[in-house]
Subunit: 219 residues, 2 copies
């Protein structure tokens, strides 16, 4: 997956190009930032995605400017990042952060085949909250028509990871300055039921499994 | 702050253009995604930022491709997003997420004046972890030379916020399907001291205040 575009230039030892590392980061998150060129200027928009093998799917209203632009097959850059902690060094210069990120270059293709479109929507749903697709009211034709599905190959992609301790200048280790890491993670809280829900409906398996999985993940 | 570029097109009621709303989102986060055009294709890179009044500062190695590109005054798009929860509806179509995001268009200007550069680095540091700047070993001339500081005006910017409950099709409210919100937030954990630290150095005020502030924030 290395090309001149994807090659990590700054601090090359943080670069990773194997699909396993890239997929692992993509699978922990579900919000990406997509950059594209519109009328000559760059635009970056956050959106949801799902991974299905070596492709990502994104969806959005057919009225969305980004979806319309991307469906034309223009160049895009898709970035996913996960922030795992602040690294506090003895000098401001060596302050850093621990993170995992993926930067992917490519072009999207619109999926118009009905069956593949339903499959793609399910993949996005499964990626975000596995099992939810089967619990909800089935998708309808008008919804399929109102929503565009785009498929993006994971071909030109790289990962960048910093997952280490404090690195200071040799002489600074003698200073009486606290140094260390403040770890962070996304914590998912108890679900809040919709007030308009009929009585006696229990929290479904998808939600229970989601909370268990997400809150058990390591940074 | 409204121009044709910044006007929220999809679901306009989620759009906000007042500085207070935009600043509030920028102040809760410190990682942005910056999009720019390099050799004709879009590139999106996550990076740290700090706000100082109506400007953002970003910094990076003078060897960074992004910093070099942006210092030439090319168009950029800077996006900050904060994810506050998943919204589970009774149909896949109405699933959504609660979030706050800012999209900013503009150009960066390199800061070369020594005093302003030190001020800018301090602003980024204060933005991320207030009070840390005063605790660490002062910045040195070689570090000032090795790091580029860019200033980005907050002029063309918009915020987009979804902070509401489940919205379903009228007839779907009769279904026996669980619906609700799974809230999430970034949780900051106990600091891990650097093993190479001299004995007897207590966790400093900046870290204690940071944890209290961040973990007390509402989504």
């Amino acid at each position: 997956m290395t090309t001149n575009k994807t090659k990590v230039k700054r601090i090359p030892r943080r670069g990773h190009y194997d699909p396993e590392t890239i997929y692992a980061i993509l699978d922990k998150e579900f919000v990406c930032n997509i950059g594209f060129i519109h009328e000559g200027y760059p635009v970056v928009i956050p959106t949801l995605y799902g991974r299905d093998g070596n492709h990502l799917y994104i969806h959005g209203s057919i009225a969305s400017r980004m979806m319309k632009n991307l469906s034309e097959g223009i160049d895009l850059c898709l970035t996913v990042s996960r922030f795992n902690g602040l690294v506090l060094a003895r000098s401001s210069f060596h302050h850093s952060m621990n993170y995992e990120s993926v930067v992917l270059f490519g072009k999207a293709v619109e999926v118009t085949d009905r069956e593949e479109k339903i499959h793609g929507f399910k993949m996005v749903s499964d990626h975000i909250i596995d099992g939810r697709w089967e619990e909800v009211r089935p998708i309808q034709d008008n919804e399929l028509k109102a929503t565009m599905l785009l498929k993006i190959p994971i071909e030109e992609a790289s990962a960048k990871i910093r997952a280490e301790g404090v690195k200071d200048d040799k002489e600074d280790y003698e200073l009486d300055i606290w140094a260390g890491i403040i770890p962070c993670k996304t914590s998912w809280e108890s679900p809040i039921p919709d007030e308009l829900m009929r009585e006696g409906i229990a929290v479904p398996p998808s939600v229970g499994q989601f909370l268990q999985k997400k809150n058990g993940e390591e940074g």
